[in-house]
């Protein structure tokens, strides 16, 4: 629908491949990056928490201001960070409640089609974006099917 409320992301947003027909399921802006985030990044893991996370978790996490999971995440959806889009391959059984309740998301950039742990969300194994404060994170319904021409 043309009525989607999309904040102004400027040219960076235009450059990404989100189509207007994609349903946005979760949307957040990065507000803080913990000093120990690299402990996880080095293993291809991005740990996100909402702003209520206690100090000891903030140290290891990327903190964001998202607070509403509009629709459950399923394989085939996409995560978009810094204009890069990654397909979601697998979603652990507690990943959606973690995200809805705590803004907590564990993204594993490993290309796996099955989760290793119940909190995991596995995405494509590609170079991780260098996430910075102010970056936008969007999870939207997949539209790969329609993209095929």
């Amino acid at each position: 629908m043309g009525e989607l409320q999309i904040p102004p992301y400027g040219e960076e947003f235009e450059a990404c491949r989100v189509k207007e027909c994609s349903v946005i399921k979760y949307q957040a802006t990065v507000t803080y990056i913990g000093p120990l985030v690299s402990e996880f990044l080095d293993s291809g893991i991005v740990v996100l928490f909402g702003e209520d996370a206690p100090e000891e978790l903030r140290d290891f996490a990327i903190i964001h201001d998202g607070h509403e999971l509009i629709e459950s995440i399923i394989p085939g959806d996409c995560v978009q960070i810094r204009g890069e889009t990654y397909r979601i391959n697998a979603v652990g059984e507690v990943a959606n409640s973690n995200l809805a309740n705590l803004g907590h998301l564990v993204l594993k950039f490993n290309g796996a089609n099955e989760v290793e742990m119940p909190g995991d969300v596995c995405v494509e194994a590609r170079q991780l974006p260098e996430i910075q404060v102010g970056d936008t994170l969007i999870i939207h319904a997949g539209d790969r099917q329609e993209e095929k021409e």
């Binding site: 893991i45 507690v94 564990v106 594993k108």
Partner: protein, 127 residues
């Protein structure tokens, strides 16, 4: 008060769980039953608090100093919280039946971590 108002519990692993058993006894100044779970104080944390006399505490609602935590109760899906509290040497109870995993797995030992815990896996130690 002349006698200790706190009591000791044994927390054993639940079905398919790992680690433990943990013996938890709150002490003055270190008596928080620290629930770092979605949706408020978890029933497992509530039960530990009731049996020990420790104070139930929601880690997502209020802030506490680390030294005040007697035990952390988490609903971790296996990557982050599972390692953060054991790394800080805080006894950690995961309600999910996880095993050591994630980048901090080396800190997760059976002396400091137990998983798959249900309220009925917590028992008072009579002295």
């Amino acid at each position: 008060m002349s006698e200790n108002k706190y009591r000791k519990v044994r927390i054993k692993r639940g079905p398919k769980g790992w680690g433990g058993p943990l013996i938890i006894e709150p002490k003055p100044g270190r008596d928080l039953i620290y629930s770092v779970t979605g949706g408020g104080i978890h029933p497992v944390a509530q039960r530990i608090a009731e049996l020990t006399g420790g104070r139930p505490f929601d880690g997502f609602k209020s802030k506490a100093a680390f030294e005040e935590i007697a035990v952390a109760v988490i609903d971790c899906g296996g990557t982050a919280r599972i390692g953060v509290y054991p790394m800080k040497k805080v006894p950690t109870v995961d309600i999910y039946p996880t095993s050591p995993s994630g980048p901090l797995f080396r800190f997760i030992t059976e002396k400091v971590f137990v998983s798959g815990v249900r309220p009925e896996d917590i028992e008072l130690i009579e002295e």
